[in-house]
């Protein structure tokens, strides 16, 4: 893919000298970057996550509902222990608060584990990987495919006799493993993605699904337990003093009993229902995602079956709940190594990129140069991205209407929504790239089939776009162009 074979080796020579020089004097580069304390990887994590306790705790960005969950559980349980337990332990048995205590402890433990742990986030591709993948995709699809459509970015794999399509994630620049999905709220690809749960303030994926299930299961038991014994308390008391008297006494002496019952009543149905649903999912080894999309349902065809299921309910349950726990792949608390190339495509703009420029300089110059050449060659469509504020959830892109839009103003089929190049957009005034929404999912990624580049967009001779692109290139540094250029390779085949 190197256009000039002659210029290639020369360039490699120059840049290889730089890389050897800087790496043979390791003292210099760490010094340049690490003037302050060495950074941990969580500080430059490209997803939309919050970290606490120096990287030990990881949650989604919106945690308000999680605090609500905590408050509800703590208050309900607290009231139960404070007001109902003394009476019940006297009247019936002290085992009641004991069991209640164990259940409460279990609920809190599993809730915190679910909320604070890494759901199975896949780290984004390093620049080298991304470039290599792009190369392979272009080889596989052939540049002379003719049409204006960008080649579909899917791979097909046969798993247990069932054909599964692996989709390319434009944000993370990887082919998603089977069952993985990209969460638009957290802006991460998550392995065995189940769903994003606002109640626990985190995604539910491979690594925390069992904690989540244990949480809702134990919470069902706890709510049923509390509900039952609150009712028992009222009944027993009313036997003593009469029902109305019991209720009358209760606000004065045992406040919130009714509130407790009401809260529990509503929780019971929803939580128990949810537990039942997830029990079904576990026994058939499906994720919520797959179930909602009907990936393995018989309605899609007689031959459609779930290739991941072990065949019987018991094995499926054991595998999901007692199987091995894979470690976190994102190494939150590790220190950033000066030698290792850092991740491309931060969604939070330029700050992360600036910190890692020295690394990417050292190791990927040849890739950068090659990719930049393609941007120059493509020069067909504007490549640029929106402001970071545009989260890809809001804006659907109707494929047809964009044709009528002015050539310079729209970038169609542009794959990567959340990555942003603020310096480029502000200068060139090119407008946003509006990503497509896939039908069923709450989160966002471009399916290649839905990302057409209609013929009208292709300015075989549009001077405006051409000049814009050149203008852009002159402004940006090569490194910041690297992301765009890698994305620009998508456009290559449409040229």
């Amino acid at each position: 893919m190197t256009p000039g074979g002659g210029s290639g080796p020369m360039k490699d020579c120059e840049y290889s000298q730089i890389s050897t020089h800087s790496s043979s004097s390791p003292m210099e580069s760490p010094h340049k970057k690490k003037k302050s304390a060495p950074k941990r990887k969580w500080e430059v994590f490209p997803g939309r996550n919050k970290f606490f306790c120096n990287g030990r705790i990881m949650m989604a960005r919106q945690t308000g509902v999680f605090y609500l969950t905590l408050v509800l559980i703590l208050v309900t349980s607290g009231l139960f222990f404070a007001f109902d337990c003394p009476y019940l332990s006297e009247k019936i048995t002290p085992a009641i608060p004991a069991i209640g205590g164990i259940l409460f402890f279990f609920v809190m433990g599993t809730l915190l584990r679910t909320s604070f742990s890494d759901p199975g986030v896949l780290p984004r591709a390093t620049p080298d990987e991304a470039a290599d993948l792009e190369r392979q995709i272009d080889i596989a699809n052939g540049s002379s495919s003719g049409g204006y459509r960008p080649p579909p970015r899917t791979k097909e794999v046969i798993i247990n006799g069932q054909t599964v399509k692996l989709k390319y994630c434009f944000t993370c620049k990887i082919f998603r493993p089977p069952r993985a999905s990209h969460c638009s709220l957290c802006d991460n690809c998550v392995e065995r993605f189940d769903h994003h749960c606002p109640w626990v303030g985190n995604c539910v994926g491979k690594r925390n699904y069992r904690f989540f299930y244990m949480f809702i299961l134990s919470l069902s038991f706890l709510t049923v337990f509390i509900f039952a014994f609150v009712i028992t308390h009222v009944i027993l008391r009313s036997q003593q003093t009469g029902f109305l008297n019991a209720l009358k006494d209760s606000p004065a002496r045992y406040p919130f009993t009714e509130t407790n019952s009401v809260v529990c009543f509503f929780s019971v149905w929803s939580i128990v229902g949810l537990s039942g649903f997830h029990t079904y999912l576990i026994s058939s080894n499906q994720t919520t995602n797959e179930d909602i999309k009907g990936s393995w349902s018989n309605k899609r065809g007689k031959e459609n079956y779930n290739p991941y299921s072990y065949g019987n309910i018991f094995t499926n349950c054991c595998a999901a709940l007692c199987g091995p726990l894979s470690p976190s792949l994102i190494d939150r608390r590790g220190f950033i190594q000066p030698d290792t190339p850092q991740l491309a495509g931060p969604s939070n703009g330029i700050t992360m990129y600036g910190a890692t420029q020295s690394q990417s300089n050292m190791c990927d110059q040849d890739q950068c140069i090659q990719s930049t050449k393609f941007v120059l060659q493509a020069a067909a469509t504007p490549l640029l991205q929106s402001e970071p504020s545009i989260t890809s959830e809001e804006l659907p892109l109707p494929g047809k209407t964009t044709i009528s839009g002015p050539c310079a103003s729209l970038t169609l089929g542009q794959p990567t929504p959340p990555s942003s190049m603020p310096n480029l957009t502000s200068d060139t005034g090119l407008t946003d790239m509006i990503p497509l929404k896939e039908e069923h999912e709450g989160h966002q990624f471009l399916t290649p089939e839905e990302a057409p580049s209609p013929p009208g967009m292709l300015p075989s001779g549009s001077p405006i776009t051409h000049s814009h692109t050149m203008h852009v290139l002159s402004l940006a540094s090569q490194d910041s162009l690297h992301e765009d250029s890698v994305r620009g390779l998508v456009k290559l085949s449409s040229v």
Binding site: Q17, G109, D128, S143, P177, M214, C322, G323, S326, D366
Partner: protein, 161 residues
């Protein structure tokens, strides 16, 4: 920590990074971690096919062992569940133990087999378990420029150039 420090430093002092080859995951068995044993053409001149395949097969074996669902993993899972998963705060899981073995194995392979041939394996764990990254180094002072040029153009050859 960078495991292959001494070999890596030596390698980098005398050689320069020419290109990287990525061995992708093999999903034909489902979501279990396995890597493709297909021999990358870029390594044709650098290492014997059989050595490479053996490395990948051994790694696949390690990962299969880590993810094995059987008696001991059930025991671990049930015990962890019974303690509301608090036991994970003090105990190392079976998977983590195997990963340590893998890391040692890779380091050993690098020292014995790959570094002498100007190659370097990167632990897949550092790449999100997606790829085995093999860095190909060229000797800077030898006819490095021409061979690195040919290797990069061969890896990119046939593309949209």
């Amino acid at each position: 920590t960078v495991p292959q420090v001494h070999s890596l430093q030596e390698l980098r002092r005398s050689a320069s990074l020419a290109t990287k080859v990525f061995v992708q995951r093999d999903y034909s068995d489902g979501t279990t971690c396995q890597f493709q044993t297909k021999f990358p053409p870029e390594l044709e001149s650098r290492i014997e096919r059989q050595l490479f395949e053996e490395t990948v097969k051994t790694l696949n074996g390690f990962y299969a062992e880590a993810e094995k669902i059987g008696g001991s993993s059930y025991l671990e899972g049930c015990l962890a569940c019974a303690t509301a998963y608090f036991i994970f705060l003090c105990m190392e899981t079976h998977y983590e133990k195997v990963l340590k073995k893998i890391s040692k194995y890779i380091q050993e392979q690098n020292e014995k087999i790959y570094a002498p041939r100007g190659l370097l394996l990167t632990d897949p764990l550092e790449r999100g378990m997606r790829v085995i990254e093999i860095s190909i180094y060229e000797d800077r002072c030898s006819s490095g420029s021409s061979s690195s040029g040919s290797s990069s153009s061969s890896s990119g050859g046939g593309g949209a150039g």
